[in-house]
Structure formats: C-alpha cells, structure tokens
Symmetry: C2
Subunit: 425 residues, 2 copies
Amino acid sequence: MARAYRKVIKLIPYEDALKKIFSTLCNRASVHEIVPVDKACGRILAEDIYAHIDVPENNISLVDGFAVKCEDVVGASQEKPVRLRVIGKLYPWSDTSSAKISDGEAYYVACGAPIPSGANAVIKVENVVLCGEEIEVKMSATVWENICLRGEDIKRGDLILRKGALLRPQDIGVLAGLGIKRVKVLRKPRIAIISTGNELIEKSKRDPEAIPNNYALILAGLISKIGGEPMMYGIVPDDITEIREKICSALNESDIIMTIGGCSLGERDFVPEAVNLLGEPGVIFHGVMIKPGRVSAFGMIGGKPIVMLPGLFASTIAGFYLIFVPSISCYMGLSIDLLLPKVNAKICRDVPADKKPYHTFLPTSIKSSGEDLIAEPIMDGPASLIRFINANGFILLPPKRGLSKGERVNVTLFSSDELFRIMPA
Amino acid sequence: MARAYRKVIKLIPYEDALKKIFSTLCNRASVHEIVPVDKACGRILAEDIYAHIDVPENNISLVDGFAVKCEDVVGASQEKPVRLRVIGKLYPWSDTSSAKISDGEAYYVACGAPIPSGANAVIKVENVVLCGEEIEVKMSATVWENICLRGEDIKRGDLILRKGALLRPQDIGVLAGLGIKRVKVLRKPRIAIISTGNELIEKSKRDPEAIPNNYALILAGLISKIGGEPMMYGIVPDDITEIREKICSALNESDIIMTIGGCSLGERDFVPEAVNLLGEPGVIFHGVMIKPGRVSAFGMIGGKPIVMLPGLFASTIAGFYLIFVPSISCYMGLSIDLLLPKVNAKICRDVPADKKPYHTFLPTSIKSSGEDLIAEPIMDGPASLIRFINANGFILLPPKRGLSKGERVNVTLFSSDELFRIMPA
C-alpha cells in the first residue's frame, strides 16, 4: 500500500501561535523576590520606586568657598573688597543644626557641605583672600549662587523608576543614594535546555572534550542576556523514553523547558510525542507558518511551558526568537521590547516577497554609514552558522511582504552586545 | 599676611591628558589567559581565529528526504512518477564512507544526514510516495538541490573572528562547532575602587545598613560592563596616612586603582598627595580642562595606573568616562569604541558654546522618534544625580564649540544597557 513517508502536522499562522502562547501564559502571577540593592544590577524592577527623602537633604555648597549673605557683598569688587568675619567651618559630614550667620559674617563651606542658616550664597575660595580671621570678598553674589537647594535633585514623593525597568548601574546608585536597601525584582526564570540527537552523542563519543551541543551553548548565552537563568541539561538520544524522562526531571527543577531538535517530521523525531506522554495539555501547537523554523512546537505540562525548537541551526534560532522569546516575555509579564533591543535602519537591497503565507525571519547585518544605519539581509543557505556571526539581528517579514531598497525597517538585535559591532565612526 | 585660601593646580588641555595616559600605558604588554570556550562569552578575543575544518564536514541533506541522482528523475511528475529502489537510510550520525547509490537507486536521508556518494540531489519526503522497498518520485530535481555542500558554511582556513572581538553567545557556538576547545582572551583587569570622605563614614555610622559609597557601586557596575573586574575597597576617611595605606594595599591586589573624592583643592583633599608619597612617578597630571571633572588626576605607582576622580557626582562620572575609560582601554590595548557603544542622533536644541577652552561632558537623553534618534542634552545643576537616570549617554563637546538644533552628533552610551530605553516604537 502506498503511503506518505512522513508524519503530518497542520501549520498555524504565526499570529495564532502568539495568541496561544499569550492565552496559555497570560494569567500567571509573575514571581518576585526581594534582593539587596547592591545585588540588583541587571535585574528587572517589580515595583514602582518613589523617593521618600529629598536629595540633597539640606541646602549644600557646590564649591569650596564661603557661605555669605548676598546682601553683605553687594557692590564688592577687586577695587572695593568687602570684609567679612569667618566664624566657623562646615564639611560635608558636618551637622548643620547650630550653624548660623549674622550680618557681616561668613562660614567656610567645603564642597558638599551644608549651608548655615542665614546664608544665601557661596563665594568660591578663588574669589576671596584670607586675612587672619577675616576674608576679603572681591565680587558680589546672586541669591543661591553655588548652592544646591534641598530637594533640587530629587523631591520626596518623586517617581524615580517604573516597574519593568532593567536596573542599570546608575539606577542602583540612585536607589542606594535614596537610602533604599532592598528592591523587589522579578525572579529570573530557570530555563532547562535539552539537546536531542544521536549525532550529538556520536560526536561526543568521538571527542569527549568537544562540545557537540554548541547550539545549546548559544541559546544559554542568549537566555542570560534576556534575563533568564539557563540550566544545561545535556544531550539525550533520539529515544522517546529517554526524552520523556529527561523532560520529566527538568520539569521538577526549572520553570521553562526548551528542547533542541527532534520536533521535525522524520521517523526519529520524538519530542512532541514525548511531551504528550507527560500529561495535559501537552503539545498546544506543533507547526507554525514561519520560515525557517516551521516545525517549532509549544506545550505545557504541570503549568510549565515547553518550547520545542528544530535542530537545524537557522530554524533553531528562528524558533528561539519567534517562539521562545515571546514565551519567556509573557511568562515574566514583560513586553518583548524590554528583552530585545531594536534599531531602525535603511535596507540596502530589495527583498522579494515569499509566495507562501509565512512570516519570514531574515538575519540581517547592520553597518553604520555616517549618519544612518544600513541593514543588509543575509540570504545564504538555511544551514549556515557563519551568517549568524555576520548578522546582528533579524527582520521579521509578514506574509507575502517584500522590502524595497531604501525602505526603513526595524531590526531586532540578537542582543545588546551587537551594538559594539555596528557603531558610527 | 593675605594668602589664597586654596591649593593651586595647573589644568592641562584634555588632549594632553589623553596623550599622557597613552604614553604612560601604551607599551604595556596586554595580559592574556586561555579559557575553555564555553566560559569565554563576554570576553575579548586576544587572537585571530581561523577555521581548521570545513563546515559542514560532509555534503549534508537540508531536509528529510531521499538522496537521488538528478539524472534519474528528469521529467518526473505527478502524472509520470519515477520509481527508485531505496537501498538504505542515513542519519546525521551515520558514517558515510560505505554509502553509495547507482542508477535507479535512492537512500533515505534524514535532515542533517551525509549524502551517499553518487547522489547529487535530495527529494523532500512530501514529494515522494513509499511503495514497499521503492519510492515513487513525483518531481524532478536540480543538481545539489536540498544539499548543503562540504565547506559551504565555513571553509578551512577562513578567518572567523578577529583579535579584539567581544565574544557573543553565537561566536562561542561557532567556535565550539569548529571543534575549538580553548581560546586566548584578554585577562580582565582588576579595578580597586576606593571611596574617600569623612561624610561617607559619618553616614554609615548613622545607618550601618546604608550604602554611603553609592557612587562606587555605580562605577563598579559600569566597570563590569566594559570588561573590568571591580573590587570594592570600601571607604577611607580624609586622612593622608589612611589613604596612602589603602592605596598601598590595593596596589598589591589589583591592576588599576580608582579613587573617588579627595582630589579637589580643599584643605581636606589628600589623595594626590598620598599618591606622591607612594613612589615614582606618582601623580602624572592633576587638573584637566574638562567640565565637569576638572580636578581629575592620573598617576602611576609600580607600573600600576591610579585614576583619581572627583567626589561630586557629575564630576565623578565625567572623570570616569573621560579619564578612566581611556586609561582602561589603553591598559587593555583596545580602542575606546570597543568598550563604549555610540549612536548617532539629531540634537533637539541649541547648546551654547562655553567661553572657556574646556571640553564639555554633556549628559544626554536619547529618544527614538520614528526613523530617527533624537538627542536631548540634560543641562541641570552640576550635583544632579537624577539626570543620570534620565540620560542615556553623553556628548563630548570640544572647547568653544556649541551645537545647533537639528545638527547630528555621536552620543556615547553609558553602557549597552541604555539600548533598552531608547528603542524605536
């Protein structure tokens, strides 16, 4: 009897795949943790932060100088200096409560020191000559000159950082400066990465020191960059029982499972079947109208998402960006834009529309050309690893849509590292 | 006797400061280390990498299908299928040495499997019907259709990555895919960060849980981002002996020393003096025509650079980017562009030229507006911490140079993290 030599899957449009991911994951309560502020760099804030103090907390001097009353130095000049009596010194660590000047008096104030009450300007030391206990001031001053007023930088009650912000080093410094000791951040989801394929096992037998699952290594690196915590689960052979067992143990120890390989339609592709053996709902979709990466699959077991990526590199990486990244961003309750940076560039050649109703994942290199960024799609063969060295990101083309030379496009960068390769001269 | 109430320093032009840094550090042999390839992500390559194998190593199939001779299926169609005898199966892990087809024969080849000798095309399984030991092929094929040829991706001898490249996850994957197990990378310089100031010590006495040296925390985070290894050396009071001792112990344990505070011209500013007590050449310059940050200093003790940053935040950060970053890049033998990403943007308002012959460090926020990036200089008071939350980078203005609204400028980003805040819609 004649029969088709292949499993059959029904491809769904990419939008439908995204909808299924969102509807499966959208009701998850995102998981937070409280971390010390000095350990929070690179984490994503899970609360709005308001200032509960003024910064600075007192009026302070912006220079080394003398705190004076403006009124005392009206008309002071090189020719007609004004003499003031210095009655004390203040440093940044000084307590200001008892410091006070009256008419004809001045206080030495170091840069950052509080301003004594009664004073309303600071004369820089270079505009003053010291004469024993007195100073000769050789210029006049305007009100609040060289003074940073209490709350001028940050006012109590100001919104400082919004929920969802990636905490940069300077944010951490500001939080610490506000006296905040701990912040609520998203817990990093732990991603179990399982490579499948007898060929990988054969390779590692031939050379035990080699890293045959190098795609897993790439994805682990990219996962770290988008805020996940990769966990390497090694290689399983193309055996349904072994795959099921490996996924089962990963489900116990991680938040999201990612498999590489074994989800195509060949006779040795067992991953989706193994997922279905593990419980309900199992595989939610298998087959998406994306190119490459169409055999990518998504499932759910015990409330944990399982993203199944194809094994051929161009497909693996397309599945990673088009299926896995939306899944993890949805899981974390974040917009994808927060995980993957984008740049706007001008495309340097025509890209013909594909005839099929597929979304196309187009690896793209970006060059800086004077004032503009130029995007060049890299359209080599589908197996090419090297083009991912030359590419900096990708364009996602909607079905049946081409691009014309000179058109502007948004290019999603593979990670923020790419910035170092596309800079203006 | 009348006297100036201030130490005096002679400011040097910024270009001269850079020249002194370069001439002091340029003859350093940069220090390398060999690391396993899977630990090399984020490191900077210290050697050119060439491929020593072809990728793929054999001709391989890009699809699940049947390897055939094109000549056998000329004219095959839905109506006139061609029958071929299937004589074996090949998988990605199969040894190809004995596999061979003759006229009228075919091999099943899984995606990624080697192509048997004699075959020159692969027919996808969906275009084939299986009939016992035979297949019916319903379409013709072109030579090398669905085959990735040996070396098509990477050829033996190809230059893969250049010395000086920041290794991204995908680079690591390619290196591992080439069978490379270890790579030579720059050793990360260890940067000792010493905060000075009695006020910081007072603050930490009042609240032992607080982090009074929050500027050090910011700089530590930024140092990590540019490839250094920050080491926190805590806070020293404004005491010349204690400062000297702290720098002395840091010199033993780190590669570069960075101090914060204590290098201004007040009576409690002891850092440059302390450096000079430690040996020759000591302070190489103190005072640079930059604004803010003019009291920044640079020195050298025992072959180790010491960068002295002012303590007022706007000055600290200007000194960090204008003096420290050139120092560490020179120390590592790298161009500054490799450490700090830049973007090109259009400025949204006039910036008047400064009258003094100073370089101006202008914190700048960047907004994405449709196709373009818009740069907005943030010109608040000099003590403002908050503007570093709103800024994404800086413009360095040469002396006496202003900017006109609409002009294009290069903005150096504080770090690649900033990309997440300036993206196109």
